[in-house]
Amino acid sequence: MPEEEEFIVAENLDLAWTNFDPFFTLPASCPFHVEREGKPLDKLIRALLRQHRQSPKYFFSGHRGCGKSTELNRLVDNEKIREKFFIVKYSVKDECDVNNLNYVDVLFSMGAQLYIQYIDAGKKVEPKLLEELKSWGHSIELEVEETKSAEATAEAGMKAIFVSLLAKIRSESTTRETIRKQIEPELSVLIDKINLIIADIEGKEKKNVLVIIDDLDKPSLKQAKAIFYNNFTAITQPACHIVYTVPISIFFTSESTPIRDTKFLLPNIKLHTKNDRNTISERGYELMRMFVYKRMKKELIEPEALDLAIKMSGGVFREGARIMQIAADNAIEKERKCISIEDVARAEREIRSDFMRILESEDYNILNEISKSNEIRGIENKGHLLHNLSLLEYTNEESWVDIHPTLEELLKNLFLKKNALPKK
C-alpha cells in the first residue's frame, strides 16, 4: 500500500504496476481519487445534513470493487458532516464474527462502539448513565466469565467490560450464544441503553450522532437477509443517524424490502448506453482515463489499448485496476516500454477465464438474455450474478444492467455456434 507521499504519477511500467493494486482503498483526499459524475456521495451527504423528524437509516451499497470503502472514508472526512455529527465508524468484521453474525451482535457492537469511541475521544458520560450501564453490563457478565478490571477510572472500567464482551462475541461461540440468549428476550433494554448513550453524547456535544458500519456487505446473503429483513425494526430502533453497508444483491431479492426506500447505490461508471454496446459514453471514458492518468503517465499506454482496458473494466474501478496491472505485467514481461493492445487483450482473456470457472450452465442463459434486454426487471433471485460481477448495474435516468464486458465475446461464440456450454 503506498504511503501518503508515494501517491505519485508513475513514470515507468514498474511503478505503474505498483499503482494499480486491486486491493487498495484510497484514503480521504488522496490524489488518485477521481470524482464520479453527479457526485453520488454528495447525495448521501445532503440527505444526512437535511433535517429529519426521526433519525434516518441509510443502506449503502455498490458492486464489489466500485469504491465503497473509499467513499466512506471521504464521507467521514467531509467538513460539514464533521460539523454536524459526532461520528462513530467501525467495521463489523473487527468487532464481531462475520461468519456467524446476527442482529443482536450488530446492535450490541453499536452500543459498545458508541461508548468506547466516545470515551476514547477523552469524553465522559453522565455518572448516572455510567452506573446504569455498569449494572446492565454486569448482569450480562453474570452468565459469562466476569471481567477482572483494575482500571483507574469508572469510565475505563466500563470500557473494559464492553471490550471483553465484544471479544467474547467475536471469538467464543458458546459464550456468544449465552450473551445473545441473555440480550435477545429483552432487546428493548439494549436499545434503551444505546439510546441513552446517544442522548448523552448529543446533549454534551450539541451534535447529532452518526454511526457508520462498514463491511456489513461481507456476510453471506442469508445472514444479511436475516439481519436486514427479518429484524429490520430492531436495527432501525437506535435513535441516531446510521449508514449500514449492505450487499448489493439484497436489493434484488424477491422479498419485499423496506431498505430499498433508503438505499444509496454507488453506481458503476456508465461507458455505453442501454441496449447499445457499440456506443461510447465519452464522459464515462474520460473519467476512467483520469483514473488511469492519475496513476501513470499517458505515454505508458497506447490510446487504443487504454480504450480497450476501459471497456473491459465495465466501469468498476477495481476491475480497471486489475486489468491495468495484468497488462502492465505483461508489457514488462514482453520488454515493451508502453502497454499495447495485446497486453490488455491478454488481461481480458484472463479475467474471462476467471468467470468461466464460476458460472454455471444456467447462468449463461440468463446472461445471454440480459445482454440483449439490459432489463433489470425479473432479475430477482439472480443476485449471485451481481455479486460475482458477471452482471453490472448502471444508473442514469433509469437503472439497467449489462453483462461484464469480458463475457461478450464468450456469449457471442457460445450462442452463435450453439456450442455446448462450457463446463463449470
Binding site: M1, D14, L15, W17, T18, D21, P22, F23, F24, R64, G65, K93, V98, N99, D215, K218, R318, R322, Q325, I326, D329, I332, E333, R346, R349, E350, S353, D354, R357, I358, H387, N388, K424
Partner: protein, 309 residues
C-alpha cells in the same frame, strides 16, 4: 491465442517476477497457481523456489489443513522476504474460505506475498465462497497441461526417492504428497515403485511399521513385474529392514539373503548396505539365534522368494 504456447518456464518466471517486484516495492501479492497434476506442481514449486531463492526471497510452505486461519498465520510469520506457498486448500475448507474472505485486509496490511496452489475445483470454490478475497487477487497463472511420462521423470525420480527430512511435519507432508502423486499414476511403472519405496521408508520413520511393510511389498511386486533387478534388490533390502523392525527375524533374514544374491549378481555396490544390515541383525539377536536362522532359512530361501512372487 498465444497463451497456449507459453512455456512452463515463462509462466514460472511470471510468478517469480510478480513476487520479486512486490518485494522490491513492498507490496502485497495474492497469486493463484492453478495446476492439473501433482507431478507438475512439484516441478513448478521446485523451479519457482530456486528462482526466488536466487532473488533473496524465502519460501515458507503452509498446509491449509493445519492452519485454517491463514491470515493469522501470515501475520504472525511474515517478514519482508517471505513468500508463502499455500497448499492443501481443500482440506481447510470451509473455515479457510471464511477466514480469507473476512480477513483479506490483513494480507494487504501485512504486505503478505502468497501463492495459493489450487486445483480447478478448489479455485472455483474460492471464487464462489470467498468472493471478496478472490476480488483481491493479482493474477491467476494456469499450469493445466498434462505432463508426459518423459517430462516428469528426471526431476521426479529425485523427489520420489528423497527421504531425508528434518521434522515430523516435513515427513508427514512428504507422505501426503507422495500418496497423492501415487494416486495419480494409472499404470504401475518404475515411478510408482520409487514412490512406494520412499513411502515405505517415510512410514518407517514415523513408526507406521505395517504401512511401511505394505509399501515395500507393493513396490517389490512392481520391480519384479517390470524386470527391474536393481530395484528388486533395493526393495528386498528395505523389506528386510521393515521385518527386522517388526521383529520378524526369519522373514527379515530371508529378504536380506535375497537382496544380497541379486546385488551380487548384478554387481550393485549397494551390496555393502545389505551386508551391514545382516551384521546388525546378528548383533541384535545374538550369535546363537543367528546361527539358528542360518540353519533354517538359508536352505529354503529360493522357496521363500518364489512364494513372494
Amino acid at each position: 491465442m498465444d497463451d497456449a504456447q507459453e512455456t512452463f518456464e515463462e509462466r514460472v518466471s511470471r510468478l517469480a517476477n510478480y513476487l520479486n517486484r512486490a518485494y522490491k516495492y513492498n507490496k502485497p501479492s495474492i497469486l493463484f497457481a492453478m495446476y492439473l497434476s501433482e507431478f507438475l506442481r512439484r516441478d513448478i514449486e521446485k523451479s519457482l523456489t530456486r528462482v526466488l531463492d536466487e532473488q533473496g526471497l524465502e519460501v515458507v510452505r503452509v498446509d491449509a489443513k493445519n492452519n485454517k486461519d491463514l491470515p493469522a498465520f501470515f501475520s504472525a510469520r511474515n517478514s519482508g522476504n517471505n513468500v508463502f506457498f499455500v497448499h492443501n486448500m481443500e482440506k481447510g475448507f470451509p473455515e479457510t474460505l471464511q477466514y480469507l474472505n473476512f480477513k483479506r485486509e490483513e494480507l494487504v496490511e501485512h504486505h503478505v506475498k502468497a501463492v495459493f496452489w489450487v486445483r480447478e475445483e478448489e479455485l472455483a470454490r474460492i471464487c464462489l465462497e470467498a468472493p471478496d478475497f478472490f476480488a483481491f487477487r493479482n493474477r491467476v497463472v494456469e499450469f493445466m497441461e498434462v505432463p508426459t511420462a518423459e517430462e516428469r521423470r528426471p526431476a521426479l525420480v529425485d523427489f520420489a526417492l528423497e527421504t531425508e527430512y528434518r521434522s515430523l511435519d516435513e515427513i508427514k507432508r512428504s507422505i501426503e504428497l507422495k500418496e497423492k502423486l501415487l494416486s495419480e499414476l494409472s499404470v504401475k511403472d518404475e515411478m510408482s515403485s520409487y514412490l512406494l519405496d520412499s513411502l515405505g521408508i517415510l512410514y518407517g520413520q514415523i513408526g507406521s511399521l505395517k504401512k511401511a511393510l505394505v509399501c515395500f511389498e507393493k513396490s517389490l511386486a512392481i520391480t519384479q513385474e517390470i524386470g527391474d533387478r536393481r530395484g528388486e534388490g533395493t526393495r528386498l533390502n528395505n523389506l528386510g529392514v521393515a521385518f527386522t523392525n517388526l521383529e520378524k527375524y526369519e522373514l527379515a533374514f530371508s529378504c536380506y539373503l535375497l537382496a544380497r544374491k541379486i546385488r551380487l549378481e548384478i554387481g550393485d555396490p549397494e551390496i555393502a548396505t545389505t551386508e551391514n544390515n545382516i551384521n546388525e541383525l546378528k548383533n541384535k539377536i545374538g550369535k546363537k539365534e543367528f546361527q539358528k536362522l542360518l540353519d533354517t532359512v538359508e536352505p529354503k530361501v529360493e522357496k521363500i522368494y518364489h512364494s513372494m512372487r
